[in-house]
């Protein structure tokens, strides 16, 4: 192993070979050994053919990025061997499908094994996993457990074929058990979905768009269990407006998309701002501009999401750094949206949305008291004023069906009742109401720890990062003895907490997966100057080594 305390596995094959599932099984096997897991899945935008691969990293520390070298290669096609030569080190163990691949290491006669058990072709991956388990010295009982949990259909036959490979191969690099209890493995999008459910979600409306689609699929699959309405309408314009319809009727809704689909939601966003309707927008970033690289990552929607929609109105933006944060902050985003009747953004990227992370459920805060905030008002005072001008700018909500209340929301400038106005004084008053709401929102957010400090907390040189680069930045920070500062909330900009987190720094290095430095620009608007900027914009997340090298360059 590259290091005592961790192991990386590459699984590669053709699109359509189920590489993501194979990777998930590998991840699970290693998770059961007591490791923290990060799984990165790399695939082009096509359905069959082309090359897919997953890198699964297991470590004793929390991880959120890959290393450039792997300890195991599980090759389902020849490309896995030829393409990833740079990822191999002297001790890398190869396990491959001997029917299709020529390589050093241990080949498995997949076809023959399947034939022997009269198993269908799609069980080929189970064969490979069986072989890997043996090569890694994992107990058979573990394999059986994981298969039973992960493959409820055809489990026995899957196990039979896996066992054959297990028996044929030899242990090459034993992955030691760590003893710590295994954690759950959750993707970023699943974590967002679960967080929203915990926040009280009633409805999810979305039009498919990578890398947000898996959230739609997840919630559509579990809608009966959660008792939520899931709608996939004709387009993103319908999505956002249906979402606002739900909000008006008193139901907590979220919508999901990526940058291109979000463009079509911006008019509805501005309506949410004016009508003061709460709605959560999950905008999962990918490489742009335009269609760009649909299945690759990027962090170039921060400024867009911050300024989208005509006019000025308060909004919340949170950018979780891993699945655990996604779970916690998605619930908060929904709470806050409703408490302040504002649009709220959850801003993951492909890395987070489709990456798999170990999540410590013990850390899950209880939500037994139910969602916070005045989500469901009792009987409002009548005649009802939807936009009653309160000191904090937040009007008591009521929903249609409330006895005696005439609930009027309006996209025009309006008075307290929601009637259209063109009077300058009323327009000013309502603008100031929204400004006060923005301040109240900022105050409320200040009661949360909005800025993480990782790495060496008192080091004078700091990395400033956001979103999914949290993991890689933290690791590099640890390695180089740097402070790592990650604002989770990006609007209202947590200037005070950020200043505290940065106090005593002499050099600030911003790390972003875009080409212009969007967080750096915002920080400098708030008077926080960045000294160096490290960008990556080829659609791939920073690996530990790639970021390490770039940071070393600028701190020398």
């Amino acid at each position: 192993m590259a290091e005592e305390r961790e192991v990386s596995v590459l699984v590669g094959g053709r699109a359509g070979d189920g590489i993501n599932n194979a990777g998930a099984l590998v991840a699970r096997l290693m998770s059961r050994l007591g490791y923290r897991i990060y799984l990165y899945f790399d695939y082009p935008s096509l359905i069959r053919g082309g090359h897919n691969f997953a890198v699964i990293r297991a470590a004793t520390r929390e991880v959120g990025t890959c290393r450039e070298k792997v300890d195991f290669v599980l090759a389902l096609n020849q490309e896995t061997v030829t393409r990833h030569q740079g990822m191999v080190h002297d001790g890398t163990a190869f396990v491959f499908n001997a029917d299709l691949v020529k390589s050093e290491g241990q080949g498995i006669p997949v076809k023959a094994i399947l034939a022997a058990e009269q198993a269908p072709e799609i069980m080929g991956n189970s064969v490979m996993i069986g072989g890997f388990a043996k090569a890694a010295g994992i107990e058979w009982a573990q394999v059986e457990d994981v298969f039973r949990a992960a493959l409820p259909k055809g489990t026995d036959l899957n196990l039979k074929v896996a066992r054959r490979a297990y028996d044929q191969l030899a242990v090459v690099r034993k992955i030691p058990e760590r003893g710590s209890p295994p954690l759950s493995l959750v993707t970023g999008n699943e974590a967002i979905g679960l967080g929203l459910i915990r926040g009280g979600l009633d409805a999810y409306v979305s039009y498919p768009m990578t890398p947000s689609s898996s959230l739609l699929h997840f919630l559509a699959g579990e809608k009966e269990k959660f008792g939520i309405t899931v709608v996939h309408p004709e387009n993103e314009i319908a999505v956002v407006l249906m979402g606002l319809g739900f909000a008006y009727a008193g139901k907590k809704a979220a919508v999901g998309t990526s940058g291109g689909g979000f463009c079509l939601m911006t008019e509805g966003l501005s309506l949410a701002g004016m009508a003061e309707l709460p709605l959560v927008f999950v905008v999962s970033q990918r490489t742009g501009p335009s269609t760009g690289l649909p299945t690759y990552t990027g962090q170039s929607e921060l400024q867009f999401v911050l300024h989208a929609g005509q006019g000025e109105f308060p909004r919340l933006i949170v950018a979780p750094g891993d699945a655990g944060e996604a779970l916690a902050w998605s619930a908060i985003a929904l709470d806050i949206a409703w408490q302040f009747q504002v649009p709220a953004f959850i801003l993951p990227d492909k890395t987070l949305s489709e990456g798999t992370y170990s999540v410590d459920t013990a850390a899950l805060p209880s939500r037994e008291d139910g969602p916070a905030g005045p989500g469901r008002a009792a009987s409002p005072s009548l005649p009802y004023r939807r936009y009653a001008d309160m000191p904090d700018g937040v009007s008591p909500p009521a929903f249609p069906g409330t006895p005696g209340a005439v609930v009027k929301v309006n996209s025009y400038a309006h008075d307290e009742y929601g009637y259209t106005t063109e009077e300058g004084d009323m327009v000013s008053l309502m603008t100031e109401k929204r400004l006060r709401k923005q301040e109240a929102l900022a105050r409320a957010m200040n009661t949360f720890p909005q800025v993480n400090v990782l790495g060496k907390a008192d080091a004078p040189v700091a990395l400033l990062c956001w979103g999914s680069t949290k993991g890689v930045s933290a690791e590099v920070g640890d390695a180089l003895g740097l402070r790592v500062v990650q604002p989770v909330v990006l609007e209202p900009f947590p200037t005070t907490q950020l200043r505290v987190a940065l106090s005593g720094t002499t050099k600030l290095i911003c790390v972003e997966e875009n080409a212009t430095g969007q967080l750096a620009a915002i920080a400098s608007e708030y008077g926080i100057a960045v000294d160096e900027e490290i960008f990556r914009y080829d659609g791939r997340p920073f690996t530990y080594e790639s970021l390490l090298a770039k940071v070393q360059e600028v701190i020398l």
């Binding site: 059961r32 949990a149 295994p182 759950s184 493995l185 699943e190 679960l194 459910i197 915990r198 009633d202 409805a203 409306v205 579990e222 809608k223 009966e224 269990k225 959660f226 008792g227 939520i228 309405t229 709608v231 309408p233 004709e234 387009n235 314009i237 319908a238 407006l241 249906m242 979402g243 606002l244 319809g245 739900f246 909000a247 008006y248 009727a249 008193g250 139901k251 809704a253 008019e267 509805g268 309506l271 009508a275 999540v359 459920t361 037994e368 009548l382 929903f399 249609p400 069906g401 409330t402 006895p403 209340a405 005439v406 609930v407 009027k408 929301v409 309006n410 996209s411 009637y419 259209t420």
Partner: protein, 283 residues
């Protein structure tokens, strides 16, 4: 809330002679009637777009969502899915829902979502001072087409027939009694109801002299007869000169989208349990 004044104090700014007054009075009369029947108006929601027609949201003293140009229908769909007990009525413009937001109309019909769409079809963009809409006749000289439009109008009735709408009617603002019947039946209809209302725009499309002698109520029309409905729909194509059929042109019963996508209610603790189960299953 009963006995409410159904007209708000907001100053009405429609032009004298505008057909929107008729639609407003018709709705008011219907609401009055419902209230007298003991139906609570608290459960009625009006969704409007942006345009002259949309001002009705300010004028009627009921729940309303004054939305965006072209977007009444998805808003209404969300509201209805969120709370099936609500009666959801859309007041749309023709620019609104035949141009900017046409796809929503098609999909509402396709889904058979239980809302009522009233199109104030004045065949012109009123509020933006007179440009052609999809129902303006070929050659219409609006501000954006001063030498005349270059396209034939869309026939919304024919379109709705092709999209599977389950209640299709046409009214006229000079026939208020009939209009009242149409809207009442549209609201009563379980499923998607579409009512194209030939609305007089006194300023930019004062077509009363054209409509009045041409409109008629087809005798013995059976709204269940799709073929016949198609013929009636095509009789007048919003362009050439012909008789104009008013009334319920087509009606059919079919399960609605809301019923089909309904999910069981879950308590907070059932949901929390489901979350914990899912997470636990990921170990």
């Amino acid at each position: 809330m009963t006995g409410r004044n159904l007209i708000t104090d907001v100053q009405n700014t429609w032009c004298p002679g505008c057909g929107n007054f008729t639609i407003q009075h018709t709705l008011k009369a219907l609401l009055d009637g419902w209230e007298k029947e003991g139906r609570s108006l608290d459960n009625v929601v009006l969704v409007s777009g942006i345009g002259c027609h949309a001002k009705i949201a300010d004028y009627l003293n009921i729940n309303s969502f004054y939305s965006l140009h072209g977007r009444t229908i998805p808003v209404a769909t969300g509201i209805k899915l969120a709370n099936p007990d609500l009666t959801v009525i859309c007041c749309c413009g023709d620019g609104d829902c035949y141009a900017e937001g046409l796809d929503h109309l098609v999909f509402a019909a396709k889904r058979n979502i239980d809302i009522t769409v009233i199109v104030h079809d004045n065949r012109v963009y009123g509020l933006t001072t007179g440009q052609y809409t999809p129902t303006s006749p070929l050659g219409f000289k609006g501000k954006s087409t001063p030498s005349g439009t270059a396209e034939l109008p869309l026939n919304p009735v024919e379109l709705m027939l092709a999209c599977g709408a389950t209640f299709i009617a046409r009214g006229y603002t000079k026939k208020m009694d009939q209009l009242k019947t149409l809207i009442r039946e549209g609201v009563a209809h379980k499923g998607f109801s579409f009512i194209d209302v030939l609305q007089i725009c006194a300023t930019f499309f004062p077509a009363a002299d054209y409509y009045t002698p041409r409109v008629y109520e087809p005798a013995d029309h059976d709204p269940a007869d799709f073929q016949k409905a198609c013929l009636l729909a095509r009789e007048w194509d919003y362009n050439s000169d012909a008789r104009i059929a008013l009334g319920v042109l087509y009606r059919k019963s079919m399960p609605g989208f809301g019923e089909r996508v309904a999910v069981p209610n879950r308590t907070a603790s059932e949901r929390e349990q489901a979350v914990r189960d899912i997470i636990a299953a990921r170990i």
